[in-house]
């Protein structure tokens, strides 16, 4: 492992005003904007190229479950709030409070996934796989990739909740930064859903 001390891992840089990790996560999010932006653009190109949408007729809101989607939106927004509170607890020096709020965030993320599981299995039960038509292809790929990002967030947040929280004992400021960065990622994942839900379910 590298023994060298890297400057500004924890303390903010005098000019940029932020530590390395925060700049890193913002750059990562910029690339994620390009990733989801490409997918949204693909959705637009495919949808405008077809005479009807959904191709089988009806409305998107009739094919997809709007109440479940709305519920999931509320779940994610709440989880962003609990995420901020987890970070705030770190800033205020309380590890137990951090654990509660971070635990709530992970729990809500799991609820989101469970709802998605029900949505997906209902579709599969009716033999509506991604190959069924481009409506389903777009739905499954966009929400699927988003779901993978949720899973990634759950893994990071669970790590911070468990093994990662050991860092609180030796370097609470660094740990707080990590929670903040994880929070930025989590808000982004939430924001993507806020675009996904209306464009897939409602429009």
């Amino acid at each position: 492992m590298s023994e060298t001390a890297i400057p500004y891992m924890v303390k903010p840089h005098p000019v940029t005003g932020i530590p390395n990790g925060k700049l890193g996560i913002w750059l990562f999010l910029a690339s994620e904007v390009m990733l989801f932006g490409a997918l949204f653009s693909s959705y637009v190109l495919i949808r405008t190229g077809m005479p009807h949408w959904p191709p089988e007729g009806g409305l998107s809101s009739e094919v997809l479950n709007v109440p479940l989607g709305t519920f999931n939106t509320a779940v994610l927004i709440t989880s962003s709030i609990t995420m901020v509170l987890a970070w705030a607890s770190c800033k205020m020096g309380s590890l137990p409070k951090f654990r509660s709020w971070m635990g709530a965030t992970v729990f809500l993320a799991l609820v989101f996934l469970v709802v998605k599981y029900f949505e997906y299995s209902d579709k599969f039960h009716h033999e509506h796989f991604p190959s069924h038509d481009n409506f389903y292809a777009v739905y499954f790929v966009l929400t699927g990739l988003h779901g993978l990002h949720i899973v990634g967030g759950i893994i990071v947040n669970t790590y911070l909740l468990t093994a990662g929280s050991k860092m609180w004992q030796t370097d609470p400021e660094h740990f707080t930064n990590r929670v903040e960065n994880a929070g930025l990622y989590w808000h982004f994942v939430d924001l993507v859903w806020i675009f996904l839900f209306p464009s897939l379910y409602l429009l």
Binding site: S2, A5, I6, T16, L23, L27, I46, S131
Partner: protein, 591 residues
Amino acid sequence: MSVQQHTATTGNGHGHAHDGHGHHELPFWRKYIFSADHKVIGIQYGVTALVFLFFGFTLMMLMRWQLAYPGQPLPVFGKLLGETAMPGGVMAPEFYNQLGAMHGTIMVFLGVVPLAVGGFGNFVVPLQIGAPDMAFPRLNMASYWVFLPGCVLMVASFFLEGGAAQSGWTSYPPLSDIAPPGQTAWLFAMVLIITSSLLGSINFIVTIVQLRAKGLSFWRLPFFVHAQLVTAFLLLLAFPPLEAASVLQIMDRLAHTSFFLPSGLVVSGEPLKIAGGGNPLLWQHLFWFLAHPEVYVLILPAMGIVAEVIANNTRKPLWGYRLLVYSVVFLGFMSFIVWAHHMFMTGMGTTMSTFFQITTMIISIPSVIILTCFIMSLYGGNIRFTTPMLFATAFLPMFAIGGLTGLPLGLTASDIYLHDTFYVIGHFHYVVAPGTIFGLFAGVYYWYPKATGRKLNETLGKLHFWVSFVAINFIFMPMFFQGMAGLSRRLYDPTIYAHGRGVQALNVVISWGAWTLALAQIPFIINFFMSLKRGARVAENPWNATTLEWAAPSPPGHGNFLTEPVVYREPYEYSVPGQPNDYSPQFRAEA
């Protein structure tokens, strides 16, 4: 840099003061294999990339046999490649297509970019900015170890049924959607390689922004660092759409979706059983959105190297340093809005094609400015023709030819005729081969002493240069004539066409040029390995250069610098009037 800083990067949690030399020796596999040291990672990338450059070149040499002597069995190697690929020693058309697609893919994604960015970027940038390492050393290590499996998967695809990817490096659907399994391997390998690149680009940007030494403001950065910074932004923002597109194509191939497949397709007499409703052009837009900035990723680091080597070997400051920086930033920005000039012949409307023609013309301006600044930098110099300088100097007219021949391609009216002909192949190879790759060779000869503590042999270096330079022009110059004659690219047997027969003699010239170029690399390979043990030993600054990397020992130890570097002046203060030496390094307090 504070030596009291908690080293959370160590992962073992205990912070303690140390002088950056490591208080216990790492085991071999942690020091050389799974290392988080940017120098080790840089060498890993560099060596891996050089191996793939030679491998990709070998694929092309096989193709050149078929092109020069269509239908003739390949002596010696023909039988070795198996009856599927080379029945009776004669290349099969599908194998030719595999070689073509894999040559392009490997040279670009497994060769040039990993060497230019992963290799030179990783090794040199932290040294040139006075940093102990990259901002995220373990992320750096992860980048390499995601990259390597991607490479292995890419090459392993040759052994799948139906062979490797064979739809061009551009992988246009519907052809790529219905291609044999090798294409799926290509897609997964690309996802791995792209992910590696994204992680790396984050590291580069944070490092350059946050870890510069005291006194090293942006306007004192070596041009190489500016070039790498712009390159990192291009990689960060342009690669994700191709990653998205690869996922969509994987879905089309494995989950039978129709992202790129319209309705009503009939392949080999059988209707395709798919839902349809997709658009083949969607892939092209997503692909070229990356692939155009990608070509600037290919050239920018090489321009950076050329700048360093020219300044050092002319013994004077670069001409137009600020202009160079503005140009390279503008170039990076413009590179995102020219992509559809690769799609002029797809039935594009006049509004869209006019827009992209205009942006394409505009983007030629910063390239012209950069080339002009480099040439002007020669004026008034005291030019030493060391081997790195030979390669850096040759870069200039070679890049000029490549850049100029882009003009007829970027204008739609002439592109009607030249699109998808050998003219295109000549154009981009001039930029990448005697352009970028010569720049990269300049970098190898220039920084080898820093990495190894020994110089490469100059005689072998000059032999390598001169034979390569002559051979490479015999390869790519005739291609412009083939293109003007109307010869299409990616043809297994060009003699099927009368206009192909008209330029077939040139194919023989080109192929012998390619085989000669291969031979020219032998002195380089010998030199590279021989000099590790027998090369002339050097101290920190064998080239009498001015930038920060020459303050560190050769090779640098852990933590890079013996004392914390401070920067006192601009990057290219050579031949300053009134000074005893013809160079005033950035890191020396007295001039």
